[in-house]
Symmetry: D2
Subunit: 161 residues, 4 copies
Amino acid sequence: MTPPRRKRGGYFGSDPAAPKPLAVRLSHRVRFSEVDAMGVTWHGRYAQLFEQANEELGRLHGLGYADFYRERLQAPIVQLHVDYFAPTVLGEEVGIVGKLIWSEGARINVEYEIFKQNGVLAAAGFTVQMFVDESGAALLAIPPLLERCRKRWSAGEFGGM
Amino acid sequence: MTPPRRKRGGYFGSDPAAPKPLAVRLSHRVRFSEVDAMGVTWHGRYAQLFEQANEELGRLHGLGYADFYRERLQAPIVQLHVDYFAPTVLGEEVGIVGKLIWSEGARINVEYEIFKQNGVLAAAGFTVQMFVDESGAALLAIPPLLERCRKRWSAGEFGGM
Amino acid sequence: MTPPRRKRGGYFGSDPAAPKPLAVRLSHRVRFSEVDAMGVTWHGRYAQLFEQANEELGRLHGLGYADFYRERLQAPIVQLHVDYFAPTVLGEEVGIVGKLIWSEGARINVEYEIFKQNGVLAAAGFTVQMFVDESGAALLAIPPLLERCRKRWSAGEFGGM
Amino acid sequence: MTPPRRKRGGYFGSDPAAPKPLAVRLSHRVRFSEVDAMGVTWHGRYAQLFEQANEELGRLHGLGYADFYRERLQAPIVQLHVDYFAPTVLGEEVGIVGKLIWSEGARINVEYEIFKQNGVLAAAGFTVQMFVDESGAALLAIPPLLERCRKRWSAGEFGGM
């Protein structure tokens, strides 16, 4: 009855033979404008914490806004999911982990984890991005910049976290 | 491999004998501060659109912030999910539908739909809320205010949308 | 020593012979995501409340985003000022008043007032917008759409609030 | 007619004999959720950039949220002002400078400057904070924590930036 929560090992099923996820780790101090009347980070803010990791992943692996712009395509988010486990509070320095998950399709799958300053998992979630061209039409073929990223990824050219 | 999207009939499986969902419908004009560099509503903003409907549902059915405060409990969101189908643009008057879904547990399940001005479904999603007491400890028993809401709900005392 | 607060009669000095301000009045319910840890509207949110009135003024008087877009110009805000007098709280239905103030220059001057549900003035402030062309260069001449607006304004063609 | 912009040397007039401002410098990368349809940082976001510097100043000088909480007082912002000089864009690493300005009153005056990655001044502004007690009543006397801060400040105990 209840929507499924995270499976052991992540939201996306994975082929053991697939290249390992590409990961980034950032830190972010929870600011006054980010907490709610309970003094904890407002739940909707996690979309921005995820975004920070997503942008960094893009910058490092040729999937950033500048890359999309140059190739005249966009990669809108078509799915966002967050599971909340423990609150994060004003002033806390949270850890944000983003992991680009290997996929064969014309999509970008990213998983996220938010950690409290004491290391406890505060939240986890994922986003899925698809590609559209300038007119907004969905791209079903894999765009060249994603092909290039995956070629380097499977060749082990991106360093680990 | 892909996380499941909405089932026909909603995110939460439902017992045909359960009371019908309690629904609200609001409208919201997309403002400049809500759109991104593509001129479409930033994906993370949908958490706020959902929140508008969630607050209205709470106000109408005895599950609002004032009700929680009086009973010394909180109902944090433990799960948020959004599926995006079509972009909404600057200046557009979007429709927001929220539906409180019947559940027997100590939780509040709400489904949401965002409609474009032309009636096309722009996004859908859900939130799950659990209850905690003042110390932050999870409440596994169903709190009295939720019992009262469900008694009135099953008695048909709340009008339809 | 202290920066000047609002003068009697408004932030912008006015020529008694100038056309009267064009005003709009909106209402907005303070949402959970808009209040801070004290349960009052976060101070930075007032920029969005002002924006709501600013957009409505633009829509009504030929100075909206669609108008700017058609004439290939932009009207970025170059100055924002807010004076806070009383807090607004979660769930409160605030009133937002925006007034387009007559000016002879290549600029848009707007004053704002935010009222608590009980009618008490919660905040006041203003924005100043200048014009830039597509390349981002400042326009010192008055653009045609502003001329047209002022012609209708001084002819009394816009109804009062 | 036009509201005054920044005076040479800052928004707050200063006594040459007063202790020098206490300054912090932070950097912040402009994220996708922070830019508007023009691809530049939305004007209202600067309140958050200012807040980052304000919080850091508080943390370093005994005027942080934890300090206020311990002394059962609050320091709401009663005035916010921003002058915008040049846009900042998506992905840009902006510099944020905050300066606590000496004052003899029961208030906290802070000036801010936002710099583009290339060093150009993008915006400047200030906030004024007053003190209120738990009941929300204004404190006209200088609270002990502010006295302590100023004693250390005038004794030169805080290092420069």
